[in-house]
C-alpha cells in the first residue's frame, strides 16, 4: 500500500534492490530543464532523509553548470534532481541550470552549445523540454537534430520527456484537426520517455498508460530503420487506430519507452509535495537507471550505452522481452472533437505510441544490456 510515488515505490516496482546503486566514482549523470528554475541542495538533502533510507545514495548534487540563484526552488528542477538521484543512486549528478540567462538567450540552445564545448560530460542526460513541432522552423529542428547526432557519436545518452499533452491537437487552416507531435521528443537521435500510472493508485501493481503521456509520429523526421519493424507491427495489429488523417504514419514514432509519471512526492522549498505528475518525472527515473547500467558496464571495461534506441528496439528479437514491462492497457489524450472524442492512440502489445516498449524491469534490462 502506498500514498503516492516515492523512490522506494519506484525501486520496488522496477525490482531495484539495495545493491542496485552506483559504485564507480567516475560515472556520472545529468539533468537539465529550461524553465529557468533553481533547485536547492537543502531540498535534495531533505528528500533523501525522508525517502532515501532504503538505498545508499548521495544527498548533494555534485556539480552545477550555469548559475544557481537564491530564488525559490522550482517544482520541475527539484523533481528532476531528486528522482534521477533515486534510481541513479550514489552516482555523481550534475545539473545544467540556466536560471538568470541573458534576456535574448535561448536556454535550450545555450545547453546545446555547452555540449559542443565541454569535452568531459556525464554519459547520461535527462532533459525535460519540448515544443510543438509546428511552432519551430525546419532549419532549427534539422540543426538541433545534428547536435543530437554529435552527442550520440560521443556515446552520450540523451533522454527527453515525451510531453504531457498526449497525442496533442492542432486545428488546421481548413478547420480539420490533426495530432500535434512534440520536438525534440520526435528527434530520431534521442530516447523519448512516456508516462504510465499504477492500475490501482494505492498499490504497487501493474501499470497502465498515463493519459497525458506524449506520443505519436513526427511530421518532420522520417521513421528511422531501427524502429520500422516494431512500428509497422503496431500499425498492422492495433485493434483501434485514429483516422490516418490525424497523423503521419511514416514519421519517427515515439515514445521509445516509459516509466511512472503520476502522483510523485517531491520536496521543494523544504515542503514535501504530493500529486506531482508529468513525463518530466518519468524521464529522470529512466535516466538514473541507464546511468546505473553504465556503472556496471564501465566496471567490466565496456563502453557506456550511448544512443540507446538501436539496442532498445533489438531487445525483443534477442529474446529479452522481459527487460521491459509491456503496458497494454489505456490510451492517451488528443483532440476533443466528434471524430476522435479526445482519444489519441491506445497501448498495445510490444511497442505502441503511448508507452513505447513499456517500463523498465531493471534486473532483466541490466542483464540484456550487460553481455555475459
Amino acid at each position: 500500500f502506498h500514498l503516492g510515488v516515492t523512490p522506494s515505490v519506484i525501486r520496488k516496482r522496477y525490482n531495484m534492490t539495495g545493491g542496485d546503486v552506483g559504485l564507480l566514482p567516475n560515472n556520472s549523470q545529468a539533468c537539465a530543464q529550461f524553465l529557468e528554475q533553481y533547485f536547492h541542495q537543502a531540498d535534495v538533502a531533505e528528500f533523501m532523509q525522508l525517502f532515501g533510507s532504503s538505498f545508499a545514495h548521495r544527498s548533494q548534487v555534485d556539480r552545477v553548470i550555469g548559475r544557481q540563484g537564491k530564488g525559490k526552488a522550482g517544482l520541475e528542477a527539484s523533481l528532476d534532481v531528486e528522482y534521477i538521484m533515486s534510481t541513479g543512486a550514489n552516482i555523481s549528478t550534475w545539473v545544467f541550470s540556466n536560471a538568470g540567462r541573458h534576456e535574448s538567450q535561448e536556454p535550450f540552445l545555450a545547453w546545446l552549445l555547452l555540449l559542443s564545448n565541454m569535452s568531459s560530460l556525464p554519459w547520461v542526460h535527462s532533459v525535460s523540454y519540448g515544443d510543438d513541432e509546428d511552432s519551430l522552423s525546419l532549419a532549427y529542428m534539422e540543426r538541433v537534430n545534428v547536435e543530437f547526432m554529435k552527442a550520440a557519436a560521443r556515446g552520450l545518452t540523451i533522454l527527453f520527456a515525451s510531453g504531457d499533452d498526449g497525442a496533442g491537437c492542432r486545428r488546421m487552416p481548413g478547420g480539420n484537426h490533426t495530432f500535434r507531435p512534440s520536438f525534440p521528443a520526435s528527434s530520431p537521435y534521442v530516447t523519448t520517455v512516456g508516462g504510465t500510472s499504477f492500475k490501482n493508485p494505492f498499490l504497487v501493481t501493474a501499470e497502465v498508460t498515463d493519459y497525458i503521456s506524449g506520443g505519436g509520429f513526427s511530421n518532420v523526421f522520417p521513421m528511422p530503420d531501427y524502429q520500422a519493424a516494431a512500428v509497422k507491427r503496431f500499425l498492422r495489429s492495433a485493434s483501434k487506430l485514429p483516422p490516418s488523417s490525424y497523423y503521419n504514419s511514416s514519421g519517427r514514432a515515439y515514445p521509445d519507452l516509459s516509466a511512472l509519471s503520476d502522483n510523485y512526492w517531491v520536496v521543494t522549498n523544504r515542503i514535501p509535495l504530493p500529486w506531482v505528475s508529468g513525463t518530466s518525472a518519468s524521464t529522470p527515473v529512466v535516466g538514473g537507471m541507464v546511468a546505473l547500467i553504465n556503472d556496471r558496464r564501465l566496471q567490466r571495461g565496456l563502453a557506456p550505452l550511448g544512443f540507446l534506441n538501436p539496442a532498445l528496439y533489438q531487445l525483443q528479437e534477442q529474446g529479452h522481452d522481459a527487460a521491459l514491462y509491456d503496458v497494454t492497457q489505456g490510451c492517451h489524450l488528443s483532440c476533443l472533437d466528434g471524430t476522435v472524442q479526445g482519444q489519441g492512440f491506445c497501448a498495445g502489445p510490444a511497442w505502441d505510441p503511448v508507452t513505447g516498449w513499456g517500463t523498465p524491469n531493471f534486473p532483466r534490462l541490466l542483464r540484456a544490456l550487460l553481455p555475459p
Binding site: 530543464q33 529550461f34 524553465l35 529557468e36 520541475e76 541573458h102 535574448s104 538567450q105 535561448e106 536556454p107 535550450f108 540552445l109 545555450a110 546545446l112 552549445l113 559542443s116 564545448n117 569535452s119 525535460s128 511552432s135 519551430l136 522552423s137 525546419l138 532549419a139 532549427y140 534539422e142 540543426r143 545534428v146 547526432m149 554529435k150 550520440a152 557519436a153 560521443r154 556515446g155 504531457d164 486545428r171 497525458i212 503520476d262 502522483n263 509535495l273 500529486w275 506531482v276 505528475s277 508529468g278 513525463t279 518530466s280 518525472a281 563502453a303 557506456p304 550511448g306 544512443f307 540507446l308 538501436p310 539496442a311 533489438q314 489524450l333 476533443l336 472533437d337 466528434g338 479526445g342
Partner: protein, 182 residues
C-alpha cells in the same frame, strides 16, 4: 536577403506582454548556427557506434574527433567573420566544434545585420525576454553559411510538470472550450 527560418509565422506565446522596443544600444545575444560539414558521415558513424550488432559498437568519438568531422569549412568561417566585422561585431565566442558563434551586439547593429528583425522586450511575471516579432533575413551570400540565428524568435519553454489537480482543471477547461468549438 534570404530568411533561414521562413516558417512558422512568428507568434508571441500566451502570457507574454509586449513592453516596447529596446533601446538601439541595448545589447542582444545572438547565436549563429554555422553550416557544418560531414552530416552524412556523422549519421553513418552514429549508426555504427550505436548498434550492438556492429563491430564498431561502443567505439565513440571524442569531442575533438567530432569537431574534425563537422567543423564549418574555411569559406564559411571567413564569410561569417568578415560579415560580422563589417558591422563592427567583435564580442563573439565560439565552441570547440567551431559550428556555433555567440555574439553580443547592440540592437541597432543587429537590426542592420539581420534585415527585418526588430528587437522588443516581453515580460511575463518576473521574467523578461527580448525577441523579434518580425522575421529576420541574412544577406543572400551568407545564406549558404548560416543554418539559423538564435535569440530572435523562440520564447523560453513553459512548465512541463503538472499536479494532477492542475491537469484535471486544464482538461475540464479544454473540454468546455472544445465542446463549444465542436
Amino acid at each position: 536577403a534570404l530568411q533561414p527560418e521562413p516558417e512558422p509565422p512568428c507568434r508571441v506565446p500566451p502570457g507574454w506582454t509586449p513592453a516596447g522596443r529596446v533601446d538601439p544600444g541595448h545589447e542582444v545575444q545572438l547565436t549563429f548556427a554555422l553550416r557544418q560539414r560531414g552530416a552524412g558521415r556523422l549519421s553513418q558513424l552514429v549508426r555504427a557506434v550505436s548498434d550492438p550488432r556492429s563491430p564498431r559498437y561502443g567505439k565513440y568519438l571524442s569531442l575533438e574527433q567530432v569537431r574534425d568531422l563537422v567543423q564549418p569549412s574555411p569559406a564559411t568561417l571567413t564569410a561569417v567573420l568578415k560579415w560580422l566585422q563589417g558591422y563592427g561585431v567583435e564580442k563573439c565566442s565560439s565552441v570547440t566544434t567551431l559550428d556555433f558563434l555567440e555574439c553580443l551586439v547592440p540592437a541597432s547593429t543587429a537590426e542592420q545585420l539581420l534585415p527585418g528583425a526588430e528587437f522588443h522586450r516581453y515580460v511575463k511575471g518576473q521574467r523578461s525576454v527580448v525577441r523579434s516579432p518580425l522575421r529576420y533575413a541574412v544577406p543572400e551570400e551568407l545564406a549558404e553559411h548560416v543554418d539559423f540565428v538564435g535569440g530572435l524568435h523562440r520564447f523560453p519553454a513553459e512548465r512541463k510538470v503538472v499536479s494532477r489537480a492542475w491537469a484535471k482543471k486544464e482538461m475540464e477547461s479544454k473540454q468546455h472550450n472544445g465542446a463549444r468549438a465542436v
